[in-house]
């Protein structure tokens, strides 16, 4: 998957949850990524964050710190 697409999709999710009640935002993003993103997509997200998280929404970067890192091989 292309990195810019991962960024785009993650930011779309962040944009939605930014409009939600403050107490629901972080959990909303974390749950959404865990529920709907296949491990390789989450791994790519971590790679991007590890590389500095350029262009990623702050809410995504914050959420990632609460997200389980998927195992390396499936």
């Amino acid at each position: 998957m292309l990195p810019d697409k991962i960024v785009y999709m993650a930011n779309q999710i962040a944009t939605f949850f930014e409009s939600q009640p403050e107490q629901d935002r972080l959990e909303g993003v974390v749950t959404h990524l865990e529920d709907f993103w296949d491990p390789r997509m989450r791994r790519q997200l971590f790679e991007l964050i590890d590389a500095g998280g350029k262009d990623l929404s702050p809410l995504i970067i914050e959420a990632a710190s609460h997200l389980k890192r998927p195992r390396q091989t499936a």
């Binding site: 292309l2 709907f36 296949d38 499936a74």
Partner: protein, 959 residues
């Protein structure tokens, strides 16, 4: 029309009447009690006495024209028509007296004096009510020699001025005026059942004739939509299916379910041997109540089309021609390739796509194979590209992913809101039922960029048409919420009882912000504020308000948000949990609901339980005897992305054509081309098969047993009416592949698969074939709490407990118009064609829609020098194609529209890769485009055509 009388399938002559008051009368000495307002004819039929009739049918209001159904009533003068005479308490009726017998014979004698006596060679022979009635009344002679008549081309040596030749213009039925008895049943069926008003009786007295459209029209050029209701209503051979003319009368009937749209109509497949003679909508079908559209009734010919591939084929390279092989060879070739890919690239490097056109049982098996045998959750279905936002949105707000009502519910609605759907074309039988309700006084609000037929059609006019700019759904729906909340039109009692009041407070604060006022959003959405305010007031306070929506809601980057905005509106106005209200997604394909229910999505098991849910997972681990992956798998667009990136290499596609149906064709083809093994399981060598290594022939709905679940959650039986021409039902093919990969499955009938579904899925716990045989159909949830299913959901509380209000902030799509691409393209479907057209293009339906055309407003056409029928080039940032223009005011200035039924056009070369934020459902409905004059097909189209021809080569089988 006489047809096969299945239990409770008899014609009672006039429609049922609903009344609490009961009336008792005596008919031929038999006492019968019926609701007040029932006709004497119907009461007789209930008592078991069939009064002769010609112009009456219980799907039409009584007309009283044929005079054959006369009876004698004690204390009343003359011989009243039993169809138009209501029962009265203590009434004494006699249906067979000397006077009545004489009158009936006289009536029949007059009818027959102007009717040809060619019964033996007539296409209605054995299926003619006129013939039956002549027999029933004992007509033995015709004393009149007609001086003038309608049925011979020549009379007295001259051309007969009253003779009108046969109209064969419709591909499916013929109109032979010489056989017509002017009973008006066809005209009434067109009005009352279909609601098109295409037929009329022209002339008066002896000159009365059935006519389609305006003077000079034939059936094809008229407004007729070829639903066939008139043909079914005709008591003679006047309107007759051409298939009956060619084949003869059927000898048996089997009730089954249509495989086209999500209405899920029940049909009787009327058969002679293993040939379908005709399809007749089943009167007791609870979705369609005896009605049908052109697709379901007539467009089944693809099943025997010469393009069907009946032998399995393989090839090592997609540039090679296909090689026909045995089933064993094809299956082991496929299994070997898939296992080899996993050995090299890991367990998660393969996956599959279930079909929303296949049965529940077939879909269940495909996802089972992927989860249990492939060992991952890379399963998805075409619902991804249509109703996945419905799944997300309704689950979040209500707690489950399904429409809340049955179709009967519309009969109780006072205000109907149609959003992003075009029911007269996409869901025609529902549209007919809706129009009937609208003619009886219900109000209609249409929210759609196009002026769809329902906005103004005979005897139906929308109270409000909010013609929004494509992509502004959330802004419009939030503005409706703004009006309802700020004007105090919400239902506080319902919200306090059924939802979380605190959550509503937060929502109310959000939506009350002046930036959501219709006056503030008008510039953006193009919807006049006053019109929007009036629509909001009508929905909130107009009585039972029901929302029906389609893909114009879901196929946007804010599709899921729009679904939640709809749910908000229904909750705040208390329009949930009873008949006549609700939120109802109109599903595109026959089994979209079922394929979602059956666990086709990569994140959830059957019954919408997340794969990380340990309890649910252990149920399946125990049943299937394997450990299952607790991580969600890839969705279709993610699979294609992963394929391009190199981590996804093998795909099994059952009954879907992702290359034609999915957005951004070039991206799809790049993904498919990057895979090592693509297995296409389909009826035809579809577009996706250009990139396939294995082709497994599929079976049609006529050739298999199973169930479909329609848009109202109704589980309907699909019954095998002929043997599969390819040799196997689709579930058997999946089982062969699963077993070749170590499955060890032993199903011998789909009922066993349904038993497994019931055993593992709480909402299906009581669904077994015996129950379906007994009840005809049931709507899930169907379990101990709801033993015969649930027509209306969320009656006493939401599935999730409290209904959840969600803040719906409008976020504009990134697909924006600009100087190079100033117009917005939106897409849809036509009445006669279905989805990618694989089926309907292989029927006579092409006479109505032989190509995709581009609808463009006269203003936009004029500034580009485009005239009607000109070839135009349609270009977006993604690609270009060409097609013919249709200049029309149906679309607003700035908006163009086309369909995606034809691979030659490939509208999806134009559409973008943008998708719904929550579900990745593609944004088909908004693409920035430019339109210019062109000379014909683009280079891309010519290249594609050449490639398709090359890819479809088949080598003869080796001896």
């Amino acid at each position: 029309m006489k047809d096969f009388i299945l239990p409770e399938d008899a014609d009672f002559g006039t429609p049922p009447v609903h009344s609490e008051t009961l009336v008792t009368l005596t008919i031929d000495g038999l006492e019968v009690t019926v609701p007040e307002g029932t006709s004497v004819m119907r009461a007789s039929a209930i008592a078991g006495i069939q009064i002769p009739k010609l112009c009456a049918s219980d799907n039409l209001e009584a007309f009283g024209s044929c005079r054959l159904c006369v009876v004698e009533i004690t204390g009343r003068r003359g011989a009243p028509a039993s169809c138009t005479t209501p029962v009265a308490e203590g009434m004494v009726v006699r249906t067979q007296t000397e006077k009545i017998k004489k009158l009936r014979r006289g009536v029949m004698e007059l009818y027959i004096s102007d009717h040809p006596l060619d019964c033996l060679t007539c296409s209605a022979n054995g299926d003619c009510e006129l013939q039956d009635m002549a027999g029933a009344v004992g007509l033995r002679e015709v004393r009149y020699d007609a001086v003038e008549q309608h049925f011979t081309p020549r009379q007295n040596g001259e051309a007969n001025p009253h003779y009108i030749p046969k109209d064969d213009s419709n591909p499916y039925f013929s109109y032979d005026p010489s056989k017509c008895i002017v009973c008006s049943r066809c005209v009434r069926a067109c009005e009352e059942v279909q609601g098109t008003f295409a037929l009329t009786i022209s002339g008066r007295g002896f000159e009365s004739r059935v006519a389609a459209g305006m003077p000079g029209d034939d059936f094809l050029s008229s407004d007729c939509v070829s639903c066939g209701a008139c043909v079914q209503a005709c008591p003679t051979a006047t309107l007759q299916e051409k298939s009956v003319i060619e084949i003869g009368t059927p000898e048996r009937a089997i009730v089954t379910t249509c495989a086209y749209c999500g209405v899920g109509c029940s049909f009787k497949a009327e058969m002679r041997g293993d040939e379908v003679v005709r399809m007749i909508p089943y009167k007791n079908g609870k979705a369609n109540r005896g009605h049908s559209c052109v697709k379901g009734r007539f467009a089944y010919g693809y099943a025997v089309h010469g393009d069907r591939i009946l032998k399995p084929m393989i090839r090592d390279d997609i540039h090679d021609p296909w090689k026909e092989v045995s089933w064993e060879e094809a299956i082991s070739f496929a299994a070997r390739k898939m296992r080899a890919i996993q050995a090299e690239h890991g367990r998660a490097s393969i996956g599959g796509i279930t079909s929303s056109r296949c049965t529940n049982e077939e879909t269940y098996l495909v996802q089972k194979m992927i989860r249990a045998i492939f060992g991952n959750n890379n399963t998805d279905t075409c619902a991804r590209v249509c109703h996945s936002p419905t799944g997300y949105g309704l689950k979040t707000t209500f707690g489950t992913s399904a429409g809340t009502q049955d179709f009967d519910s519309v009969e109780q609605s006072d205000v109907v809101v149609i959003i992003g759907a075009n029911p007269t074309d996409g869901h025609p039988v529902f549209a007919s039922r809706l129009k009937k309700r609208l003619r009886a006084g219900a109000k209609l609000i249409v929210i759609d960029p196009r002026r769809i037929d329902l906005v103004k059609t005979p005897h139906v006019k929308a109270a409000h048409h909010l013609a929004l700019r494509p992509g502004t759904n959330v802004a419009v729906l939030t503005a409706l919420g703004h009006v309802i909340v700020t004007e105090g039109l919400f239902d506080e009692r319902f919200i306090r009882e059924r939802c979380d009041w605190e959550e509503f407070q937060f929502y109310a604060e959000f939506v009350s912000d002046p930036r959501h006022a219709p006056e503030a959003t008008e510039m953006l959405t193009g919807v006049p504020a006053a019109e929007l305010r009036a629509a909001a007031r009508l929905y909130a306070k107009g009585g039972n308000g029901a929302i029906y929506y389609g893909l114009g809601v879901t196929e946007h980057s804010q599709g899921s948000t729009t679904v939640m905005a709809i749910a908000n509106l229904a909750m705040m106005t208390g329009n949930i949990g009873r008949e006549g209200v609700g939120v109802n997604p109109l599903r595109g394909q026959n089994n979209v609901q079922g394929s979602c229910d059956m666990g086709s999505f990569p994140h959830e098991f059957p019954g919408y339980r997340h794969v990380s849910d340990d309890t649910a997972r252990s149920v399946f681990e125990k049943m299937w005897g394997v450990e299952l992956d607790a991580e969600p798998g890839l969705r279709i667009p993610n699979m294609l992305d992963a394929a391009v990136a190199g981590s996804f290499k093998g795909l099994y596609v059952q009954g879907e054509d992702i290359l034609q149906s999915d957005p951004d064709t070039k991206h799809v083809s790049a993904g498919l081309e990057a895979m090592d093994c693509v297995i296409v399981h389909d009826l035809f060598l579809n577009e996706t098969a250009h990139y396939a290594h294995v082709f497994l022939p599929g079976s049609t709905f006529l050739e298999k047993n199973g169930t479909f679940t329609n848009a109202e959650r109704r589980i309907n039986r699909v019954r095998k009416v002929m043997a599969p021409r390819n040799g196997y039902e689709d579930w058997e093919v999946t089982m062969m592949l699963a077993n070749a990969m170590g499955g060890n499955w032993t199903y011998t009938h789909p009922s066993q698969i349904m038993d497994e579904i019931a055993a593992t899925t709480p909402s299906f716990a009581s669904v077994h074939y015996e129950l379906l045989e007994r009840e005809g159909s049931v709507q899930w949830p169907c379990n101990e709490a709801h033993p015969i299913g649930s027509p209306v959901m969320h009656i006493d509380g939401f599935v999730r407990g409290k209904g959840k209000f969600i803040v719906t902030e409008y976020v504009p799509t990134d697909e924006k118009t600009g100087p190079r691409f100033p117009l917005l393209l939106t897409t849809g479907r036509s009445l006669s064609q279905y989805n990618v057209g694989a089926q309907t293009r292989r029927t006579h339906n092409v006479v109505w829609h032989e190509e995709d055309v581009l609808e463009i407003h006269p203003h936009d056409a004029e500034v580009r020098g485009v005239k009607d029928r000109d070839w135009v080039r349609l270009a977006s940032r993604r690609g270009d194609t060409s097609l013919r223009a249709h200049v029309t005011e149906r679309v607003a200035p700035g908006v163009v529209y086309t369909t995606f039924h034809h691979p030659e056009t490939q509208a999806n070369v134009i559409t973008t890769d943008y998708s719904d934020w929550a579900t990745n459902c593609p944004e088909y409905k908004v693409t920035a485009v430019q339109v210019s004059l062109s000379n014909g097909p683009t280079d891309w189209q010519e290249d594609y055509e050449a490639r398709a021809t090359l890819s479809r080569r088949i080598l003869p089988a080796a001896e």
